[in-house]
């Protein structure tokens, strides 16, 4: 379905991609040649079919400027985006789960209220504003962390330092979502009969909280993150642009500015497929974590 919509988009793009790619000084013959190369001279349904079969075999066409296969170019940038999203997940889990659990355990306290309001706030504020402000405060003003790029290749520490701020911008909103969800499910689990049983067996409160309740309360986090990764993909585009990091988002953005359409469609297609796969994967992970679901596989 998504592929169909994509094709419609490319086909409907006003103007001639070949003309755009070649620039104003191109001759008619050059344009004709590129047309044939891109398959634009054939009837619509042939183009449509070609796009489908090609996409299925992993051939997304060639990029206009350097004539490299689109898939190669996109795949080259993909790891950067994935690392960024992984960093975002890292932040959101590392902050969201403890905050949510803490809020549930301190029910009715000022701490719970503050965590609740802060969660709503970080969910509400757009990630690119967070990105720009983080850049301004921590990189430009305080100079604690580097501002731009992904760091020296091969220098792990440098790369990690470059990852901190962008991934915070990607993950901060999800700290709020996860904290809220963990709080709610923790409160629910703490009411469960098996927690009462555990107390009646005299198990220490720490063991009950962390091993008996929290392990159950965090299970929905994985499903939530499955949804979240799609949104983080959006935030990652902004973070890549703000922090001038390489990645699929920046690739597609630059391709739009230079009207490099095969690259745009390729990038969008890959990320959308990725998005669907991630959701599927998240469901499978939930299955492997929860013994109640696991047995059904």
């Amino acid at each position: 379905m998504a592929m169909f919509m994509l094709f419609c988009m490319i086909y409907l793009i006003p103007g001639d991609p070949a003309a755009v790619a070649l620039g104003p000084r191109a001759t008619e013959a050059m344009r004709e040649a590129l047309h044939i190369k891109m398959g634009l001279d054939r009837p619509v349904w042939v183009q449509f079919l070609n796009f489908f079969t090609d996409a299925w075999t992993g051939d997304l066409g060639r990029e206009v400027l350097s004539d490299r296969p689109v898939l190669d170019v996109v795949m080259e940038q993909l790891p950067h985006t994935l690392i960024l999203i992984a960093g975002g997940i890292g932040w959101s889990v590392a902050l969201g789960i403890p905050l949510g659990a803490w809020a549930a355990l301190k029910r009715g306290s000022p701490a719970e209220r503050i965590i609740g309001i802060a969660s709503v706030a970080v969910i509400a504020i757009p990630s690119f504003v967070i990105a720009i402000y983080a850049l301004l405060v921590f990189a430009v003003h305080l100079r604690w962390l580097p501002a731009i790029g992904a760091g020296e290749p091969g220098d792990f520490k440098d790369q990690a330092m470059h990852l901190i701020l962008p991934s915070l911008a990607v993950g901060l909103g999800w700290v709020g979502y996860i904290a809220r969800m963990v709080r709610a499910s923790m409160l629910e689990v703490l009411e469960a009969t098996h927690i009462r049983t555990a107390r009646a067996f005299g198990l220490p409160e720490r063991m009950i909280t962390y091993r008996y309740a929290l392990t159950i309360a965090i299970l929905p986090t994985v499903t939530l993150l499955g949804v979240g990764i799609g949104h983080m993909l959006s935030s990652a585009v902004f973070a890549e642009i703000v922090f001038a990091r390489p990645g699929v988002g920046k690739l597609v953005y630059d391709a739009i500015l230079t009207r490099n359409y095969p690259l745009v469609t390729g990038g969008v297609l890959v990320t959308t497929v990725l998005f669907v796969l991630i959701n599927l994967f998240a469901d499978l992970v939930v299955g492997s974590l929860d013994p109640r679901v696991r047995s059904r596989f």
């Binding site: 469960a192 009969t193 098996h194 009462r196 049983t197 555990a198 107390r199 009646a200 067996f201 005299g202 198990l203 220490p204 409160e205 063991m207 091993r211 008996y212 392990t215 159950i216 299970l219 929860d290 013994p291 109640r292 047995s295």
Partner: protein, 334 residues
């Protein structure tokens, strides 16, 4: 009064109150009961009569808005109402163990049975292998087939009856002095119920513990228990040996409860008898007899709190109509 030395648990004048949004709820009033060593005592009463509150008060697990407002819970001579949370926790699971009503929800769904049983023994100095061996032995005692394998399985892989037997195994693992069983058979079907009752009886005899058995099933109580405590709206209205209470009910509530038991219906009928009226609002507890509003026999004297009258040796009823057994033979009630 029974001699306190032979009692494992003695409760006297226990009052429990809950703070609610619409005023304070007086959940238990002047509750008193005795559980002798190696005795099985049953508590009967409708839902909402305070059975669960009583258990939680004994276990020191009242909800945050609840508090004990006077009275004593003496366990082996120690007053549990004055015990700090740490000592209370040390008691739970070792000296007092509990089996709850809902076998589906009583076990942690994401931790294996073996692991949960090992966790219960966290206070023991045994090594994990020895703990597991004890778990297996205990599971075998409750007749779980293939007990060794069962350790690696998760609660959802067992049937309801098996889960309840595992819960019983866990409760009795540390050989407690007192087992509290909160409607352990209510969620099970009739055949399983009988089997579970037999199992409990065997285990009780084997371990030599006392049992506080809570149920609204009179037949089960009659079958299993040595003594019965009848509760109504947070008060103990009658207590005594099972035969005393069941054969010579002295409180009108007990009498009506026995009449309403489906198992005691002589004729097949579609309409089960019920007690007219409803439980009074415990936020505004009437000062006099708690059952007065539903009692066919109430007098003006019932406006004052009725005394607990000993009608027979160890048989008490909280009703002004109660008479000593000898007088009772010339009773006014048919």
């Amino acid at each position: 009064m029974s001699l306190p030395t032979v009692n494992l648990l003695t409760i006297r004048d226990l009052n429990v109150r809950f703070a609610t949004e619409r005023g304070e709820l007086h959940a238990l009033r002047d509750v008193g009961l005795d559980i002798g060593k190696e005795r099985i005592v049953g508590i009967v009463g409708e839902s909402g009569c305070g059975k669960s509150t009583l258990i939680n008060a004994i276990l020191g697990l009242l909800a945050n808005n609840g508090r004990i407002d006077g009275g004593r819970i003496l366990f082996n001579g120690r007053d549990l109402t004055r015990l700090d949370p740490k000592s209370m926790q040390a008691l739970r699971g070792i000296e007092i163990a509990t089996v709850f009503q809902d076998p589906m929800g009583a076990l942690n769904p994401v931790i294996s049975v073996g692991r949960q049983m090992r966790n219960i023994q966290y206070r023991s100095s045994l090594r994990n292998k020895e703990k597991d061996a004890r778990s297996v032995a205990m599971l075998q005692r409750v007749r779980i087939p293939d007990a060794k394998q069962a350790l690696h399985r998760f609660p959802h892989e067992f049937s309801g009856g098996m889960k309840q037997r595992i819960a019983i195994a866990m409760a009795l693992m540390m050989e407690p002095a007192l087992l509290i069983a909160d409607e352990p058979t209510t969620a099970l079907d009739a055949t399983l119920e009988v089997a579970t009752i037999d199992l409990l009886k065997d285990l009780q005899a084997g371990i030599g513990c006392s049992v506080l058995f809570i149920s609204h099933h009179l037949g089960v109580i009659a079958e299993l228990c040595d003594e019965v405590v009848v509760m109504y709206a947070g008060e103990v209205v009658e207590r005594g040996s099972t035969s005393q209470v069941f054969n010579h009910p002295n409180h009108p509530y007990t009498a009506r409860l026995l009449e309403c038991d489906p198992a005691r219906q002589a004729k097949r009928t579609r309409l089960l008898p019920t007690i007219p009226g409803e439980i009074p609002d415990l936020r505004h507890r009437p000062p006099g007899c708690i059952f007065a509003s539903r009692c066919a026999d109430h007098r003006s004297a019932c406006q004052a709190p009725p005394p607990e009258i000993e009608v027979d040796n160890g048989h008490f009823a909280r009703c002004i109509h109660a008479r000593h057994h000898d007088e009772n033979s010339r009773s006014r009630r048919p």
